[in-house]
């Protein structure tokens, strides 16, 4: 007797077995276990990691890292917005100046820029307004100022391109609708264009903020007391190199994780009205 269509249509469905996936998962788990084991039996004194995790020098370094990342990012975003608007200007002088800025500061490595700013006194021994006042450049160009300028200015070059892409992503009709309401150029940018451009701008800027947190470690070479510099100072004294590098890595992980969470919140805020069929508030 042959089965009928009705009988076959009522048989139990059995999902396919993914043997390949199981093998791959087993291999990866074995590799992870081997790495974990290596670190456990390796020559790391984990007690030192715990001991130095919250010492004052490391805490000061952590604060300095966060302060530098935030300030350099603020400088970068301000410069980025200004140069992006200049780049899109009809005025060829403004447009090409912005292009030159972006070209120059994107091309020169950040570490090299830090060294240039830090050694500015070699070019200009004093700075100020001629006849009014003048100060020795070495007094102004502290490690903090040199790091802030170096990191902020190169960040501005990258952010300018991000902001430009954001501005160009806004539909032409939005500009026309804003103009039709009688908005001036500045008000149109602030009220209508930028809030929409932010949706495109925030994800890459968030990534760059995370990049900036790590980039501040470059400032250790010009003696700025950020977290890596602090860790190095300690291990120069006690020779616990790996333990202190792990301490620094731990704090970078914490800061970057916190930033990722904040980025998610901001993205959600600027996606207002974007997702169809989402919450209508």
């Amino acid at each position: 007797m042959t089965d009928t269509v009705y009988q076959i249509s009522h048989l139990v469905h059995v999902p396919r077995r993914h043997y390949g996936r199981m093998v791959a998962a087993a291999l990866v788990l074995a590799a992870l276990a081997a790495i974990a084991h290596a670190f456990v039996v390796g020559q790391i004194e984990w007690s030192y990691v715990g001991e130095f995790l919250t010492v004052p020098a490391i805490m000061t370094g952590l604060v300095n890292t966060i302060v530098m990342a935030i300030l350099a990012m603020v400088v970068g975003i301000v410069l980025g917005v200004v140069f992006a608007i200049m780049r899109l200007s009809d005025n060829p002088v403004l447009s090409y100046t912005a292009l030159g800025y972006i070209w120059l500061f994107r091309a020169v490595p950040a570490l090299l820029q830090l060294l240039l700013w830090f050694n500015l006194a070699l070019i200009f021994p004093t700075m100020g307004i001629p006849g009014l006042f003048s100060v020795p450049t070495v007094e102004v160009m502290t490690p903090f100022v040199a790091a802030l300028l170096g990191l902020g200015i190169q960040q501005g070059a990258f952010t300018a391109e991000v902001v430009r892409a954001g501005l160009l992503s806004v539909d032409r009709g939005q500009y026309e609708a804003a103009q039709t309401l009688g908005m001036t150029r500045l008000k149109m940018l602030r009220r209508i264009i930028m809030p929409q451009a932010m949706r495109v701008i925030i994800p890459p800027v968030g990534n760059e903020f995370i990049g900036m947190v790590k980039l501040t470690s470059l400032a250790s070479v010009i003696q700025y007391a950020e977290i890596l510099h602090s860790a190095q100072n300690i291990y120069y004294a006690n020779s616990r190199v790996i333990e202190l590098l792990i301490v620094a890595a731990f704090w970078y992980l914490i800061v970057v994780t916190a930033l990722s969470l904040i980025q998610g919140r901001i993205e959600k805020y600027y996606s207002k009205g974007a997702a169809p069929a989402a919450d209508t508030k």
């Binding site: 009709g173 939005q174 026309e176 103009q179 309401l181 001036t184 009220r191 209508i192 929409q196 974007a274």
Partner: protein
Amino acid sequence: MDIRTTAAADDQNLSPAAPLVVAADVRKRFGDNEVLKGIDIAVPKGEVVCIIGPSGSGKSTFLRCINQLERIDGGAIWVAGELVGYRRDGNFLHELTDAEIARQRRRIGMVFQRFNLFPHLTAIENIIEGPVQVLGEKPAEARERAEALLARVGLADKRDAYPAHLSGGQQQRVAIARALAMRPELLLFDEPTSALDPELVGEVLGVMRDLAGSGMTMIVVTHELGFAREVGNRVAFMDQGQLVEIGDARKVLTDPQQARTRAFISAVHK
């Protein structure tokens, strides 16, 4: 009426008795392509003029010249007696600054084919944006007027919806309310129903019909010949950058005098 003889009040503005919109010999070119070849038209206050014509005839471009989304290359336009976009100095017309042009645009509302609502603002926020940010109205007062305008276009229940959650017809009605919130003396419509699904055209035309009934001066670029006949006081036919024919709406649409107008109307009705 020959608009060329309309008297000027001073060396650049027209007397209050002049029509609300006066355009004289308006010319516009994009590169080598002359898209407006000298347009003359006068629109009295309270009149509804529908501009029809094939695509590429320059009708949208002319509309955009009136509120200076396009800069004209020749001729002059007056709205409410005021020379638009330029200041006369002897034998020259000097272009105005951005701020002066922005001020002139306040009195001219515009409704676009693609609605162009601000997607990051809710329906009611779209409507109060202009009054609060440009006219300096108090938010509470603007909000109250916006509620009334939403009710007028039949969308009182959609006040807190974002544009992405509205149908095309609803978006266009919010866009009309947004334009009305500026208390315009003149409304420009640039193919307001061309981007709509057929079943949504009626609700937008209904709102426009009400507006026309309330005495609003309107210039409407449209393909809806039925609407033009029913609501338009006059119909203007444009072709290849020229105003070929203008006259009483029913007369132009049923008994056009020019061969080009006849050809267009019979082609549309096919």
